[in-house]
Each structure stands twice: as C-alpha cells, then as structure tokens.
Amino acid sequence: MNKAKVILGAALLGLVAGAASADTLDDVKKKGFLQCGVNTGLAGFSSPNDKGEWTGLDADFCRAVAAAVFGDATKVKFTPLSAKDRFTALQSGEVDILSRNTTWTINRDTALGLNFAGITYYDGQGFMVNSKKLPGITSALQLSGAAICVQSGTTTELNLADYFKANKMEYTPVVFEKFEEANAAYDAGRCDAYTTDQSGLYAVRLQMSAPDDHVVLPEIISKEPLGPAVRQGDDKWFDIVKWTYFALLNTEEAGITQANVEEMKSTENPDLRRLLGVEADTKIGTDLGLTNDWVVNIVKGVGNYGEIFERNVGTGSPLKIARGANALWTKGGLQYGPPIR
C-alpha cells in the first residue's frame, strides 16, 4: 500500500516536472528549425548583409547549433531583439536560444532564470584615441584630464567614472544620447578619447574620417563576457548548446576546418576519431540527444571557432579585431574547450 503511494507520488512528481520543463530539443525538432534571438544590428555579431541573410559571430553560433541538431546549418530562423525585449523573448519561449551579445552576469544567471552556455566573445570596455591629435598616448592611464565621449545611461558611463576614480585621475565626460552623435563628436575632435566596448570601438573606427589615426588602447576596464543563453530548467538543451560551443573550440584546437573535415574523418588519431564520431560504437553524440556526426555537421556548416571569428570580426572582415583574449588557451587566450570523450 505504502509502496504504491510512493510510486504514484513519484510518477505524479515526474509528470509535474515534465510539464514544467518543456523539452526544447523535442520542440525544435518538431518545428523543424531553430528560433534564434539576435541583435537587431551590431557590426560583426549579427546584421543582415546585402542579400538580407544574417551574418556575424552570434548568428553563426546559432547556425552551429542548428547544424548539430539537424545536420543542416540553414535550418534556423532569426528574431532580431532589442536590449529591452531579449529576456522576455527567451522566457516566453519565443526564441529557443538567445545569441545576442549578452553579458554573462550572476543576476541574469539566477534572478532572470537564464543559463549561459559559454563565452563566445570576451569583450570589455576600452578606449580609443586619435594618435595624430594626442601622439604618445599608449595607455589609458595617461588620459588624466582628457575629455571623453561616452553614451549616456549605459553601464559604460558608470565604468568610466569608477575607473578614473580608482586611478585618481580627472576627466571631463562629454555625454551623448545617441551612438551616432557620439561618433560624430569624437570624429570632429570634440573629445580626446572615445569609450565603449572594445568590439564596438573597432566598428566606430571604420566610420572615422581617418581610421588609421585612431588607436584602441590596450586597457580593458570592465569584463563583458558575451555568450549564448538558454532557459533554466532544460539541462538537455543546455548541454547541447554548451557542447556545440566546446566542439567549435576543440575542432579549432585540433586543426579541423570546414575545408578538411571530410579527410580528417579518416584520421588514425583516436582523439580526433572520437571528436568526429567515427570511432566504432561511440555514443557521444547519441548521449547528447543528437547523431554521432554532430561535430562533423557543425564544422561543415559553419567552420570551427577560429574560422567563425576571422570571417565575422577578425582579419576576414572590415573590423580586423585581433584574437587577443579570444585566442585559444594554447595561444595565450582564454578560449578553452573541455575534452570531448
């Protein structure tokens, strides 16, 4: 009698739990495409190109997840989201994954009920100065007394104040409501330096009348780890997104590229064979809820992490951002993928 009660109770609990945490993977497979929330337009991360296709690092990450799930990187639909509606869209199930240059913070991880699957781009607030106007400035610590262009009402403004206070330096903030206004004012020489996220500084530099005169200073005064997020409470889906990211890193580390992935399948290296799912009776992919060639599909679809980076923000793009902190750990960066075995 008691036993039956316990079983019944457990079954009910399971039922309740099942209802509370919808299975995103099943939903996605049923729909036949991945719904991906991206930025409405941010150079290098997500923006439509001339043909209207979404390009950028964040957009390509979604394609990688689609490739892992469906074996087809094109089975993804993009929802452009503003900074205000991004979390609502994820919470309400409008998007399956939020890949929208979102900073990983504890508040978002806990109170907002998100799970961050990794850090696809280590960003941080930096400074840019005009080297023609201010020759010899090589560090932000030399900016004492400078007039600095900044967008109002952003964390950027607060970080700036904290940094100068901590280093006991004076500065004059020149505050603008709009991004374009701040750009124009800086270009016209109304301020000595410009501050925003470093990735943004490179985009701003492209719009300057003499881009080569402007240098991005090495100091980073805030941590902005950007990464894809999913809803809390669906560990299976969280695992898929997380390991898609790690697979991108591991393939770069192993030298597997979009071009050579097919030949690499016949490699003898057991590590690579496991990674590519060609080892006999491997269960890595199926344990994840995918097929065993998921890594092959990802790389075939979008390339490895390095290829995505170079294509969208690195040397293959007009932005020309150096790898820096986003280099692999083997090359002095922070990108480290746990082993796939």
């Binding site: 190109n49 509606d85 919470q91």
Partner: protein, 386 residues
C-alpha cells in the same frame, strides 16, 4: 442747344494697351514679392545669401561629388581611409543605397517572392489613383474594391499560405512595405472608427457616451510607444507559453486604435462647428439619426476638418517609425539597421546617405498627402467665406 465745334470725334474704342511693366511681368512680381519694403529687401538678401551659400554644397554632396557605383565600403573611402577618393572628399555614398534598396523596400522578404509585394503595390496604386481623381467614374465600386476587397487580396498575396503561395512570416517583412501596410491599415480603420467614436461621444445615450469618452481619453492619455511596448512585451507574459500573436498584428491593432482616438477628436471638432439649424433642419425634414448624420451633418463636418484629418494621417505615417522599438523594421528601421550593423558598408558617409534617402522617401509621401488635401479643400470649398 450748345454748338460743338469739334473737328474729330472718336468713333471706336481705343485698343487696350499692355499694362505698364511696373504692374505686371517679372519686374513687378519681384518688386511686389521680394523688395516691397526695406524689411522685405533685407530678408530677401539674407535668404538669397543662404541659398547661394548652402545650395551648391548640398547639390555637390548629393550629386556632383557623390559616388554612384561600387561593391562595398572601399568605393566610398578616401585615400587616407584606405580607398581611392582624394583626401578631404565628402559626398553621398549611393552604392550603399543601391545595394540595400531591396531591403529598404521589402525588408528580408524572400527575393523570389518579392513580385507578390510589387503586385500588391501595383493593385494599390491602380485602385488609389481613380479613387483620388474626382472625374473618374465608378466611385462606389472603386471604393468598395479599395477599402473592402483590397485588404483581403493584399493579405493573401503578402502573407500567403493559400492558393499555392508560400507562407511568408511577418518577421521577414520590413522596409517601406511595413511602413505602408501599417499606414494603410491605420488610415482605413481610423477614419470610420474615429467617426463612430466622435458620434458616440456626442450621443445622448449615457452608456455609449461614457464608453467612447473612456476609450478616447484612455488612449490619448498614453504615448504610442507605451501602447506598442505593452502589446509587444507584456502580452506574451500573460498568455500561456507557446501561444504567440503575430507581432505585426499587435502593432497594427495598437496603431489603428491609437489613431482612431485622435481621429475621433478631429471629427468631433467638425461636428461642433455645424450650426444647430442644420440639425434642426434635418429633423424637420423627418430624417432619422443616420440619415441626418450621413446626408446633412457629416458631409459638412468632414469637409471642415480635412486639414485636421490629413494632419492625423501624416502624423500616423511618420509614427510608424516607432515600431522599431518593438524590433520591427519599417523603412527608417531598416536604414538604421543597415548603418549600424553592417561592417561591409561602414564609412563616414554611410549614415548621412542612408538618412537622407529615408528622409526623401518620407517627404515624398507626406508632401503628396498634404498637396492632395489642399486640392480637395479647394474643390469642396462651398464655404461661407465668399
């Protein structure tokens, strides 16, 4: 009788002579309109100086030193920026608009399906022009086609999913197309709804009157941005997960309700200007309420408030740009997105070029609406001013 010793009497009328050059012709026009008084003279000179000062620069930027062809940003860069143009060059970067023209017009509507949007546009224009031309026949049929049949045709053509047309979801819509869809729906819904609300507000039935007053004042009391925001972000949190309303539909409803409240007040202004005698005259003829309103009061009231109505339409047309805050991309939204997001076109001139293009399109639409309303005013003018 007095004798007249006149040698010659003119027997025919003297021929009319041309007016002196100080009264007609270009000289007179210039004197009358430009140099009539010392203040006029000073103002004319200042204006002329401004034109001479700015116009060449503007024309130069827009046309003469503008770049007209190119594949990416390098076409619009000076040598010091890594391009071919001479240092210090400044001009419009038209290839950016050219490359993005499709998106500015249709958003991300699939390329191979864009004929559907164009066809809808052609039908729209083919129905609109005869409707706006007073001398064109079949007004009633035309109006039914335009206001009743056309929305359905447009819906099936644009959305698809029937008759072998593929389904195009609204998040892919964008550009001028979204601007026009929202404006059309706003205009077509707000005028009749606004008239009904205005009549309701002046009604003698307390419940109807109260409902209309509450609706109008509630909607007029909040900014459009708030209405859109609520519809877009709060609504999904209230309904069960997985159940989503189309975002464009939400925006359409929000904009239509919003503009009807304003339209109601404009129409009410017209109703109040009609003398009491007109109502009494209609009553004494034995006309019912709807006959009285339809045949006597409304034609006069609406004619009076044409400027106000068109004002509301123009305001509505420009307000459509606010849908950007709910991540929908009207013409201005797409232009902004292309400027801020795409590194392949990032140059110092891109933003200016994009905004000038958007401004030109908006100006064309708003200016035509305003000119047409002036034409209608003159045509319908049977007023008491004469």
């Amino acid at each position: 009788m007095q004798e007249h010793d006149v040698a010659w009497v003119r027997t025919e009328m003297a021929l009319a002579q041309a007016a002196p050059s100080s009264a007609v012709g270009p000289n007179a026009w210039v004197r009358k309109n430009l140099f009539a008084s010392p203040i006029d003279t000073v103002l004319t000179l200042i204006a002329a100086l401004a034109v001479v000062w700015f116009l060449p620069q503007i024309l130069n930027w827009l046309f003469f030193s503008a770049v007209w062809s190119g594949a990416d940003r390098t076409a619009c860069l000076t040598t010091e920026q890594g391009g071919q143009l001479p240092a210090g060059w400044s001009g419009a970067c038209w290839p950016f608009v050219e490359a993005r023209f499709g998106q500015f017009m249709f958003g991300r509507y699939p390329l191979e399906e864009r004929w559907r949007v164009i066809l809808t546009g052609v039908i729209f224009i083919a129905l609109l022009i005869p409707l706006l031309t007073p001398s064109a026949p079949f007004k009633k049929l035309n109006a039914i086609l335009f206001f009743v049949v056309f929305p359905f045709v447009a819906f099936f053509l644009l959305v698809g999913g029937y008759f072998g047309l593929s389904y195009i979801e609204t998040p892919l819509w964008g550009g001028l197309m979204v601007t026009l869809v929202i404006s059309y729906v706003g205009i077509v819904v707000s005028l009749p709804l606004g008239i009904l609300l205005a009549l309701g507000r002046r009604s003698k039935m307390p419940i109807i009157k109260m409902l209309c007053v509450v609706f109008i004042e509630a909607i007029r009391g909040v900014p459009l941005v708030t209405v859109l925001f609520m519809a877009s972000f709060m609504l999904p949190l209230f309904v069960p997960p997985g159940m989503t309303f189309d975002k464009l539909l939400r925006a359409l409803i929000g904009v239509a309700l919003f503009s009807s409240a304003y339209m109601a007040e404009v129409v009410r202004g017209g109703l109040q200007a009609i003398p009491k005698g007109q109502y009494e005259g209609a009553d004494s003829l034995g006309l019912g309420y709807w006959q009285k309103m339809g045949f006597i009061v409304m034609p006069q009231a609406l004619k009076l408030v044409i400027p106000g109505i068109v004002n509301t339409f123009i305001g509505l047309f420009k307000d459509t740009t606010l849908v950007l805050i709910i991540s929908m991309f009207d013409l201005l939204g797409v232009v902004k997105q292309s400027i801020s997001g795409d590194p392949t076109w990032a140059t110092p001139q891109t933003a200016k070029t994009g905004y000038v293009f958007a401004a030109a399109i908006f100006w064309i639409f708003c200016f035509s609406m305003s000119r047409y309303s002036m034409f209608m005013e003159r045509r319908l003018d049977t007023s008491h001013r004469k």
